[in-house]
Symmetry: C2
Subunit: 452 residues, 2 copies
Amino acid sequence: MKMVTSQIARNINHTNFGQISRSAVYEAKRSLLNWLGVAIGAAYHDSMDKVLNVSRLMESSPQASILGRNEKTDMLFAALLNGMSSHIYDFDDTLLETVLHPSSPVFPAVLAYSQYKKKTGKEVLEAFILGCEVQARLALAVYPSHYWRGWHITGSVGGIGAAAAMSKLLGLDEEKTSFAIGIAATDPTGLREMFGTMTKPYHPGKAAMNGMLAAFIAGEGFTSSKQALEAERGFINVLSEETKMELLTDSWGDKWEIEKNSYKPFASGIVTHPAIDGIIAIQKAHNLKAEEVEEIQVTGHPLVKELTGKTDFKTGLEGKFSVYHCVAAGFLHLKAGVNEFTDDFVNNPKVKALRSKIHLTIDESIKEDQVRLTVKLTDGRELSHYVEHATGSMDLPMTDQQLIEKFKDVTGNIIREEAKELLIDQVYRLEEIEDLEGFFQLCTPVESASRI
Amino acid sequence: MKMVTSQIARNINHTNFGQISRSAVYEAKRSLLNWLGVAIGAAYHDSMDKVLNVSRLMESSPQASILGRNEKTDMLFAALLNGMSSHIYDFDDTLLETVLHPSSPVFPAVLAYSQYKKKTGKEVLEAFILGCEVQARLALAVYPSHYWRGWHITGSVGGIGAAAAMSKLLGLDEEKTSFAIGIAATDPTGLREMFGTMTKPYHPGKAAMNGMLAAFIAGEGFTSSKQALEAERGFINVLSEETKMELLTDSWGDKWEIEKNSYKPFASGIVTHPAIDGIIAIQKAHNLKAEEVEEIQVTGHPLVKELTGKTDFKTGLEGKFSVYHCVAAGFLHLKAGVNEFTDDFVNNPKVKALRSKIHLTIDESIKEDQVRLTVKLTDGRELSHYVEHATGSMDLPMTDQQLIEKFKDVTGNIIREEAKELLIDQVYRLEEIEDLEGFFQLCTPVESASRI
């Protein structure tokens, strides 16, 4: 049996920032900008306060920032909390091949430690990219059986990604790195049954916390298996049916999984994105009023109906699973961000009235990232638009400008406009930043933020 | 589908100390005495210091005691550390049907919270018995496929036991209790690949920590699935092939799983116990010297050879997997406790010499808890002994006196003799103790203990 875990540990140990491609570094920064925005945006979600209360019960020490808030907790709770917040809106990044959200289990651990121990921007990027590489390869090795068996892959492999990243950041040697992976591998988090509850975003948070703890104790010399991933009763065999072990180590360094990262322009399920794209395109061209609309006809892939066919609902969360609502939001606001999925907005009479005019037809010949839209107007005109590739798909990635706009939108009035500009600038030149304290300062909220 | 998780939550909520049988309460106290002894006994193991260093890195608050040591940590780290220490020597209690070690994931959480929040002895027993009941029934529901797939059942179901116990102790309502179970269910710990490393005892410790955290955040109103155990992508279906759901709730309160708890008289694998029992019986009758022995013939069940057939080894840990060493220890010391499995003892020339005189024959007709021993002496005599049931088996449970002796032996010189006597007394009348501070004080070590 090939010693896969040891080889991964060796790869982490021997790979440094200079050996990582410039395109991987660039995509890691885009990942950070996207991740940071959605983390700050959800910082005041109800579930965050509940976990913060528990950190207070533990009398947790103020070591690292809860991004977007004034509170600090110890590094482990900061990893948990920032990991949670970044996944609360289901608006974080995705590696589309495995539906792994790569940033939310890794950045929280790396950033909490980097803040407390004054690591540099370059070290953050290096650790993040290596941790991502390990978890993304592991996800590929166990996908799809692992996911279909019921594991929320972002939580279950994410802890190993966090442990790998932390091992690099802590400067662990090969053996200790393999132990860190082992300790994280024995501690996976995330059943898909939890989708739709606060426990879903708990998964990447807990993965960040578990992986960080694993790396800390491995750093102290705590021992584990050196074959945690590949052994007969190791992670891969116990948690999946696949045994694509070679994917874990083959061609290491030739390409970087983070380069394939994708970002969601809209805060709803990915199958709704072509339709939102389409209606925004029509609106940008015609600037229609809702009253002018007789009917909107959406023709899409069968999954659009299966996953987002909700017509009768009362909450913003449910609105994410209604293509009718998504199209209405895109029509009215030219976007479908966090504010378009509040309870208030989905129950707004104007929004409900427009939703009732939207109809869905499925067409087996249309691909998942495509859609055909036709708007029939009261004056008899018909406006049609065909979306070939949705924004955020592999064929049409979000541009830097779109990511920046998303960041500004999703962080709302939690942080100041000037802080947003400075953060965007710092993220794009992160490898030059020696002292990250200013970066974390910029993530603290304006005075009124706690009332959002 | 029957709402199993909700029913369990209701059962926990509606069952109080007065409804628990006296025999279950009695066995819970015996469980505590055994658990406390092995936890204190391993308090200075190398792995404990490594995790304590990490708690120091977190600047963890001194809320709860590390039993047998002077250090305190926050409740979560105390749960982790005391859960680890109690499993380090593989000397804790076992529910033989499922090889679940019921105390090590539950007591650490219950005691840490009870110390910090001044709960009573009765509340400790109530929470422990209910948590045990949930995890033991869950273990029965998923055994054996769960274990054979590669899950260390004590870690993987233990977190749910800890969450159930903590829910009772925290006084959570039914819904919050079901959420606590859900959050713990999504966070299982323990791959069997880790056996033989420090990560094995990490499993019950981490289970205690995960389950405690789950109950704390559920107590704040954090939501989870209400069908975490029985759902299609819930714990039981994802982590096992069995679906014996009825075992989780049938005849609740009629019998208590803790009544079947068993304790190990010797610090080695259970298949070696009949042979150790046998040699001690011969020695008690004849008081032989090693020099008088020509040969010792052990005739046992096939598993004795398969699991404990090691003849050539260098460490105390390996000695636990050598029936030859175990018999030599029993012959020389009339016991096989922690001190008989040190590196020094297994490498002692006198011990090695005796080991070389011991031979093993397997016999398919002999049961697992039986053995036949024959000692051939240099003067030509032959002394034989047949063990029908090993001490600690269901048919011959350890007596209170034997448990007390084990407690005194395993805690060594970490705590004072008078403290041992007082602790034994307090454990056996735990339900009368309103203020547990004295109990925790008695678990603090003598001054020299840190040098053990």
